[in-house]
């Protein structure tokens, strides 16, 4: 199948190095300590953060750092086909783990010993790249909750179809079965904290594809910073400073 036309346009009209439209909103769940909605094209996820708070199950308490927990789920209406997604299936468990590990790596957990941080992410609408969107949403929600972090971790995916590296695959491109690289990135310290790939790629092509995903992460980081600044300004304004 032709995923990139000879004119260099993808099926949805983007060029290979372009991301989908991204949009973010801070504070969607008032009850939570921090929350955010993150959209990448038609993929829409919501994240809510509770904590740091007392550890619920004392046996899990860690004495020198905070306990980070993450729960990922997909809304039943998120894919359009009315499939009942049982909670806690293997895919959800795996993504929960991936998000938890990525966030744990950038939270300064040693500053909050004997406490617990809960991250809830739910996919409202799925159109490819849900993992990345979840991480981005979680970052924003953590920042909203004022949890100390090393850096803003951001994530973006890229793939390789029709011998072309493509940034930010949508659902159609994702289901083509080609290589799909998801990268989590700390832009300030310039470090990759998450790297996943399905399928195989020769190493030199892989490096290009990964580099493309990193560029995507950087762009998302810029956007997230803008949103946070905007949010802070709003807060200042409301407090009348």
């Amino acid at each position: 199948m032709e995923f990139v036309s000879p004119e260099g346009l993808r099926l949805d009209g983007r060029r290979p190095m372009e991301m989908r439209q991204i949009r973010a909103e801070i504070g969607a769940v008032a009850k939570a300590d921090g929350s955010a909605v993150f959209e990448m094209g038609n993929t829409k996820v919501i994240a809510a953060v509770y904590g740091p708070r007392e550890v619920q199950n004392r046996t899990q308490q860690i004495n020198d750092q905070a306990l980070v927990r993450c729960e990922y789920s997909m809304a039943n209406f998120s894919t359009g086909d009315r499939m009942r997604k049982p909670k806690g299936d293997r895919r959800s468990t795996e993504i929960s783990l991936v998000i938890r590990q990525t966030m744990e790596a950038c939270i300064l957990t040693h500053l909050m010993p004997r406490s617990q941080i809960d991250i809830f992410v739910q996919v409202l609408q799925a159109d490819g790249g849900t993992r990345s969107a979840c991480i981005n949403a979680a970052t924003l929600a953590l920042a909203d909750a004022g949890i100390p972090m090393r850096d803003l971790v951001t994530s973006c995916s890229s793939g390789y179809l029709n011998s072309t590296p493509l940034l930010d695959l949508n659902y159609v491109e994702d289901s083509a079965g080609g290589p799909d690289v998801t990268v989590g990135f700390l832009p300030k310290v310039d470090k990759v904290t998450l790297l996943q790939m399905d399928s195989k790629l020769p190493i030199d092509i892989f490096e290009n594809v990964m580099q493309l995903a990193i560029e995507g992460c950087k762009a998302i980081a810029n956007y997230i910073r803008e949103i946070m600044l905007e949010n802070t300004k709003q807060l200042e304004y409301r407090r009348g400073i």
Binding site: P6, G13, E18, G80, P202
Partner: protein, 872 residues
């Protein structure tokens, strides 16, 4: 990152389960006209002086592709909405349009109107998809008109009345394709215009062609939904229609659902199906199975005319023919075979055909249109009705015609003229026909391809010699043995006696991949061509001449780069060790088979080269007998040799190609090298190696051979290749040619050996039946076969010399390369045979000859003979 904020996003719903897709509209899609001042014109494709820019609607592209391929039609804007529609309707046409759009000599520009912010149109309520697309085309035309501001005329070409009316109402100039071509004042182009089919009343200018004959001849094809449900319920059977080469009124459909072939007698039952179409067939009642045959022949007596059929040795005759059954005395077999009729066509196999017009008197008053009947060279194709305005020019020409439609009311399909090849009977024209019929690209290499060649004169450089992966073997006594006059020498040999009594034997193959780099235009071209094609009077190269005849050719007394396989062998020809290396060699002699044979036979010669030859020959004989012991088949193929007049290129004499011991010696070592290389690459790349396999023939395929053998009282054992080889050896009749004939028949029953990607099959399926080898590949002729180029790359990657190119990661791509190679390989073989036939005909045209012959097969409309003297 170019993510621009000016994009407008819209979502699109559709189907039963609503699907939402993003659709980005952009402001960086340019118009492609160099005269435009608003756009970035770096990618502009239209001509700077274009006075008229054409926009085509979908039906024009679908129907008039032959016309569009004519260089007279230029400065065309292809809208993406049109391309998408074409792609959905006909992939073949889509590929041809895409080829036009990427051809740098043509001015076709693709405008992605669906993603342009000003030309995207949203579907309106109650608007059909077609209407919406037509509107999109008009909006794009309007945009061009205002965008270019009158610098060029925008002309919308559409044959749809309604679309044309609306366009003119909206202030767009629009014309039908006929009127546009007429305005070009090129009468020859008019023949290329596809006439609207007579059942299609929407089109303009429908002339009622033959009012008296407008009766229904064929039954209507069932609608697709009915066919699908019929197939499901088992009343219809799906399969590919194959027409009998010797009798175009008889066809076979191999059906999986009943596990047998269904015979279809007569054009009425074939119901407008062409050879190669995928059809749905309904079985006739059993009591009609037998009579149907005699009936249909009588029925079509009026249509069948006197045919001078050339019995062709190249024919792969249909697998089973009832006539052979007839002669073996088994009359019941005929009635027990199911016969049927075509109820619908699932997929058409229409393409263009070579042939000539049926002789007819010139109509009074030339210049007008005339109807003529086209007779394809391929006898399986029915005659095709065409319109032409240049009848007098075409009558004595070989022409190409494409099929457009076949309605129920006409006996013949209608088509249109595509182009003229040349005069009938002319040697060049007929050779050209052979090439076209076998889809062989004989065009000269493009400048981009030639730019990939190293500068001439080329010689081995000091870097090559210093390269650590390249072993210096210049001091070895390397020589080559080839047919006389061979210029593209891709293999050479050496054989050194070791002090231990063993021999070091080397096969050195031209290092083509040192010059053909993956992904270069040269590589793409070679992979497309797949193989060199050998015709009687010319050769169509896979690679440009400087490579094949000079840089890569392992000629004598020059240093050349090679890829070597070197064995240590015992005097019993057992391989002790094998190594592979890139090398530099210097051949000391380029011998012909005759020379090599003469040296070996001349007992006075004791020079080192001759000794090497003799040693090798001894080894080769041992290897050969061991191979035959394992069950390898020695099959006969009728190879013919022509002596060609150097001036006129006409054949002077023909005779059988003589096979000498020297040929067999070289062949033996090449086989061994191929087997060794196959082992090595498969060990390293078990999923992406390119190998060659030869499937064992099924009993059903050997049926014709067994029946013929039984007819002469011969019992063949076909339980294994070894058993078959032995019983072929025993098949010696009173006639000295009998054995040869049986072998030729056996060869024709075999399946073809094919290339495949090792990941697609399981190891037991890798088997090569004819060579009785568990693994085989092609390594020894990279100059003339692309498969060998791929294998060279695999071998160097397995040695760690180069990295494996990325296409090897993509198994589907590798499979499609293998498929293309098989297709090209088969076509090249067919073309060579057709060329031999053609030259045979030319030879006998002037020389009526009396000679001995053997009858091989009897058919209802003739018989096939084998002429030992001329091998056909």
């Amino acid at each position: 990152m170019l993510h621009s904020k000016t994009f407008v996003k819209k979502t699109r719903g559709g189907k039963v389960n609503k699907q939402v897709r993003e659709h980005y509209l952009r402001d960086d899609i340019y118009c492609g006209a160099p005269i435009c001042k608003l756009c970035d014109s770096s990618a502009a494709r239209l001509s700077p002086s274009a006075s008229t820019i054409l926009l085509l609607d979908t039906n024009v592209v679908l129907n008039q592709i032959d016309l569009l391929e004519n260089p007279a039609i230029d400065d065309v804007v292809m809208l993406s909405v049109v391309l998408d529609e074409v792609k959905n309707k006909n992939m073949g046409v889509y590929n041809r349009v895409r080829a036009l759009c990427s051809n740098s000599l043509r001015r076709f520009f693709v405008f992605a109107n669906e993603h342009h912010k000003d030309t995207f149109v949203k579907e309106m309520a109650k608007e059909s998809k077609n209407d919406r697309n037509d509107r999109a085309i008009r909006v794009a035309a309007q945009w061009y008109q205002s965008h270019l501001g009158g610098a060029a005329r925008i002309l919308l070409i559409t044959n749809d009345k309604e679309n044309k009316r609306k366009a003119i109402a909206e202030g767009i100039s629009a014309e039908t394709i006929e009127s546009y071509v007429k305005s070009l004042d090129r009468p020859d182009l008019l023949d290329l215009v596809v006439q609207p089919s007579s059942e299609d009343v929407e089109m303009e200018e429908v002339e009622d062609l033959r009012p008296s004959k407008r009766k229904v001849i064929y039954t209507e094809h069932k609608p697709m939904s009915e066919i699908t449900s019929g197939l499901h319920r088992g009343i219809y059977h799906q399969g590919k229609l194959r027409v009998n080469r010797y009798n175009p009124f008889e066809a076979y459909v191999g059906s999986e659902s009943i596990g047998d072939e269904i015979i279809i007698y007569g054009r009425t039952n074939m119901n407008r199906a062409f050879d190669g179409d995928i059809v749905a067939v309904e079985l006739l009642p059993q009591d009609q199975w037998h009579e149907e045959k005699s009936l249909s022949i009588a029925d079509e007596e009026d249509e069948e005319e006197d045919v001078h059929l050339v019995p062709s040795s190249a024919d792969d005759a249909p697998r089973t023919t009832n006539l052979v059954q007839g002669c073996s005395g088994d009359t019941n077999a005929v009635s027990s075979r199911p016969s049927g009729c075509v109820v619908g066509i699932i997929k058409r196999n229409w393409h263009s055909y070579c042939g000539s017009l049926e002789p007819m008197p010139l109509p009074a008053g030339s210049g007008g249109t005339a109807h003529a009947l086209f007779v394809s060279k391929d006898r399986r194709i029915p005659k095709i009705r065409i319109h032409t305005r240049q009848l007098e020019n075409l009558l004595d020409k070989r022409i190409i015609v494409a099929v457009d439609s076949w309605d129920r009311l006409s006996r013949y399909p209608s088509g249109h003229y595509v182009r003229t090849i040349g005069e009938i009977g002319d040697r060049d024209t007929e050779s050209e026909v052979v090439l076209i019929e076998n889809d062989i690209n004989s065009r000269p290499f493009s400048s981009q391809v030639l730019a990939c060649l190293p500068p001439l004169p080329w010689s081995v450089s000091s870097e090559d010699l210093a390269n650590p992966v390249r072993q210096d073997l210049r001091d070895l006594r390397v020589f080559s043995v080839d047919p006389p006059g061979c210029k593209d020498i891709d293999d050479a040999l050496h054989c050194t006696a070791l002090p231990s009594g063993n021999f070091e034997v080397g096969v050195h193959i031209a290092d083509v991949t040192n010059f053909v780099h993956p992904g270069s235009p040269l590589d793409d071209e070679a992979s497309q061509r797949g193989t060199s094609v050998y015709l009687v009077e010319r050769r169509i190269d896979m690679l440009p001449k400087p490579l094949t005849e000079d840089i890569c050719s392992l000629r004598s007394d020059v240093e050349r780069l090679a890829f070597s396989v070197i064995w240590e062998m015992t005097p019993e020809a057992d391989i002790i060790s094998t190594r592979y290396t890139k090398s530099v060699i210097k051949s000391c002699a380029a011998l012909s088979y005759i020379e090599a044979q003469a040296r070996m036979d001349d007992s006075r010669l004791m020079d080192p080269l001759t000794t090497d030859l003799r040693n090798m020959n001894v080894l080769a004989k041992k290897m050969r007998s061991r191979r035959i012991e394992r069950g390898a088949l020695t099959l006969a193929s009728a190879e013919v040799k022509f002596q060609i007049d150097t001036e006129t290129h006409d054949p002077l004499d023909i005779g059988m190609y003589q096979i000498r011991e020297a040929n067999q010696m070289v062949e033996e070592f090449m086989l061994a090298a191929n087997v060794s290389v196959a082992d090595k690459i498969l060990k390293h790349f078990s999923l992406c190696s390119l190998l060659r396999r030869h499937p064992s023939p099924t009993r059903e395929m050997l049926e014709p051979l067994l029946r013929t053998a039984a007819a002469v009282g011969l019992n063949l054992d076909v339980s294994s290749s070894k058993a078959l080889a032995e019983s072929l050896d025993r098949a010696v009749g009173d006639d000295p040619y009998f054995n040869k004939l049986i072998r030729i028949l056996a060869t024709r029953c075999m399946t073809q050996a094919v290339y495949f990607c090792s990941g697609d099959l399981s190891p037991p399926e890798y088997h090569h039946y004819g060579l009785a080898a568990p693994l085989y590949t092609h390594f020894t002729s990279p100059i003339r076969r692309y498969a060998d180029v791929i294998v060279h790359r695999l071998l160097s990657a397995s040695l760690g010399i180069y990295k494996l190119p990325s296409i090897f990661q993509d198994r589907s791509q590798l499979t499609s390369i293998a498929d293309n190679l098989n297709y090209r390989h088969r076509n090249a073989q067919m073309a060579s045979r057709a060329s031999v036939e053609l030259h045979t005909l030319i030879y006998f045209r002037k020389r009526p000859t009396d000679t001995e012959a053997r009858v091989v097969k009897i058919r209802s409309n003739g018989f096939i003979v084998f002429v030992p003297k001329y091998v056909f």
